[in-house]
């Protein structure tokens, strides 16, 4: 490991940063193609050619003007992938964070935070079509229409095919193409559970001296001025390579829509009389209580009784002022757990509420079109520090023990929507979902709740800078 630190630069250059990090793309089509580099008798010349063929379509964070590019791509590399294309960095002994080097299947760390057990165990990932450590590179391809998608996929595919077996595409799904392809739901910003998604994203203000967790310097390697998070590496040649990069926890989450719908329907029958409303209303009410927002996006704190168009994309609200009893939004609701805002956090002496950037999209057709199809979310969770941002939030989802709104003396509840039920349960988990009620007669849904979300695969990737990817293509040290 090289311990010599690189001086901290002042300002990020947008033309050196991959666009995905800064901009939430709204291209209607995307494909996320996984690749394995041949490690035995690696001939770097062919792998460099692969990158060289992709560079013309690599999208930076610079403003693209009035017209969106018809086709474009971004590239992520795993720690093993970096080790292959940049052997000079000696990745295993480098100052890359151990979370990144060990991967999301690390039994001592990532697996415990992510709660990937049972059907979502790393041994089950990628439909067992390849090994977890085979994923060396992910190319995220975006297109304005299906024909353009075919074109960019063809370009990427051709680049791999002419690599003399050095770059092989991995196809994780059992679908016709086997690829992770975006499915355009209607409306386009909804996910398979019929919630509006990606409403609240970090501001990414360019604020080098700032202390706001939403600032860009907490996501981009080489700029952080805070003690936590600390996007790194910050020493050795790996710091120069990783500068202007950002990590991507690339996570494929199967969504069991049938189980979710059945759960809402069954529970609504029981709950409707208690809240003295119709079964139809109660289904939507319960869906909102589980998420923290109504399905149209209205936060329960602002619209406690019904969804409202005026609040459907609201992000300016908190819990401290008038919802510290969880009467509007339950403490365990998904959006409250993954962003507790001002409710107060106390984790081992820290009150930091970490943020992540989400760039996800649905895959697979909806239940109404093909009941048997695989469907879910292609999750791109971007962060500067995988452990203190992504894994911390995921750990909170699985174990709601991060705030004193949860009675520390009692067993630990879980996010009702996304958490892994972790069977067998550790003895200190409260498997029930509790909805606090004004009259004190809380609604308690006995758990464990069904497993609505199952991890199909995860890869920890670095989205390197444009210059780092260019250096790989050119074989520069």
């Amino acid at each position: 490991m090289n311990y010599t630190q690189t001086p901290q630069p002042a300002k990020p250059e947008l033309n050196d940063i991959q666009g995905l990090i800064i901009n939430g793309y709204t291209h209607p089509c995307s494909v996320h193609m996984l690749f394995k580099f041949n490690q035995e008798g690696t001939n770097l010349k062919y792998i460099r050619e692969f990158f060289k063929d992709l560079l013309p379509y690599l999208q930076s964070a610079e403003d693209w003007g009035a017209l969106k590019p018809e086709i474009m791509l971004n590239i992520g590399l795993s720690a093993i992938g970096i080790g292959i294309v940049k052997p000079d960095l000696d990745v295993p002994n480098s100052s890359f964070p151990s979370t990144f080097k060990k991967g999301p299947w690390d039994v001592n760390n990532a697996q415990q935070s992510l709660g990937d057990y049972g059907a979502g165990d790393p041994a089950e990932w990628w439909n067992k079509k390849f090994n977890n450590d085979d994923v060396h590179c992910v190319v995220h391809a975006y297109a304005m229409n299906p024909a353009a998608q075919e074109k960019i996929v063809g370009i990427i595919n051709d680049a791999a095919l002419k690599s003399n077996g050095m770059v092989t595409e991995l196809k994780p799904l059992n679908s016709e193409s086997g690829r992770l392809e975006q499915y355009l739901l209607v409306p386009s910003d909804y996910i398979h559970f019929s919630y509006r998604d990606s409403i609240d994203e970090p501001d990414l203000n360019e604020n080098p001296a700032g202390k706001d967790q939403q600032d860009l310097n907490n996501f981009l390697i080489g700029y952080s001025t805070l003690p936590n998070p600390i996007p790194g590496p910050l020493s050795g040649p790996e710091a120069a390579f990783a500068k202007n990069g950002c990590y991507n926890a690339f996570r494929i989450l199967y969504q069991d829509v049938e189980a979710f719908n059945n759960f809402l329907e069954k529970q609504a029958e029981v709950i409707a009389p208690k809240i003295m409303n119709t079964k139809e209303y109660t289904e939507e009410w319960l869906a909102a209580k589980m998420c923290g927002r109504w399905r149209n996006g209205s936060p329960l704190v602002l619209s406690p009784d019904k969804p409202e168009h005026s609040t459907s994309k609201s992000t300016d609200f908190g819990y401290l002022k008038d919802d510290m009893k969880g009467l509007k939004c339950p403490f365990s609701a998904h959006t409250r757990v993954s962003n507790p805002r001002d409710e107060g956090v106390d984790v081992a002496g820290s009150d930091t509420v970490p943020r992540i950037i989400r760039r996800g999209m649905p895959y697979g057709p909806p239940l109404s079109i093909d009941p048997d199809a695989d469907r879910g979310l292609i999750g791109l969770f971007l962060c500067g520090d995988l452990s203190s941002q992504f894994e911390t939030l995921y750990n909170w989802i699985n174990l709601n023990n991060f705030s004193d709104v949860f009675d520390p003396a009692e067993n630990t509840p879980q996010d009702p929507l996304v958490a892994n039920r972790i069977v067998p349960l550790p003895g200190n988990i409260d498997p029930n979902f509790t909805i606090p009620m004004e009259d004190g007669n809380n609604i308690v849904i006995d758990g464990p709740l069904p497993q609505f979300v199952v991890t199909r695969g995860t890869a920890y990737l670095l989205l390197p800078s444009i210059s780092a990817l260019t250096a790989i293509a050119n074989g520069d040290a």
Partner: protein, 150 residues
Amino acid sequence: MQTVNPLTMYVPIYQTDEAQATAQAAYQGFNSAVTKAALDKMAIVHYARIALVPNTNGKGIAGILVITEFDGNMNSYLEAFFNNSTTIKAAFLVIISLWANKPADFPTNPDQITYTIFSNFINERNLSQSQDLYYAYPQSVKQIVAKFSK
């Protein structure tokens, strides 16, 4: 899934008189009111101790052994100490300063030890895995303390 994890870290130390004395002082000063206050505030450590492992000839100290059981996984544990507890971070930094097998360019100034260097150092010297640990109960420190404070 288990909610408590082990750290068993062995660090071979310099054989100089100064390093040996520092190790003795670290050992004697560890279980103090200051350490207790710091660990109580974190509320994630069930038990912690350090031990001095003697050289095989019985003279002097070969290395320092740190043994703890803590809530959460290793990364969150190390981040908590690095970011939120100057006392415990300082104790780890003393041990790092005594490490006998330092690479030539390893920072001697503690201010230059970033979280990545800190966490990689400890992770690479942890002799225990999660599955190695026997635990009689799954409750967290926070839960136990709160329960018995009622």
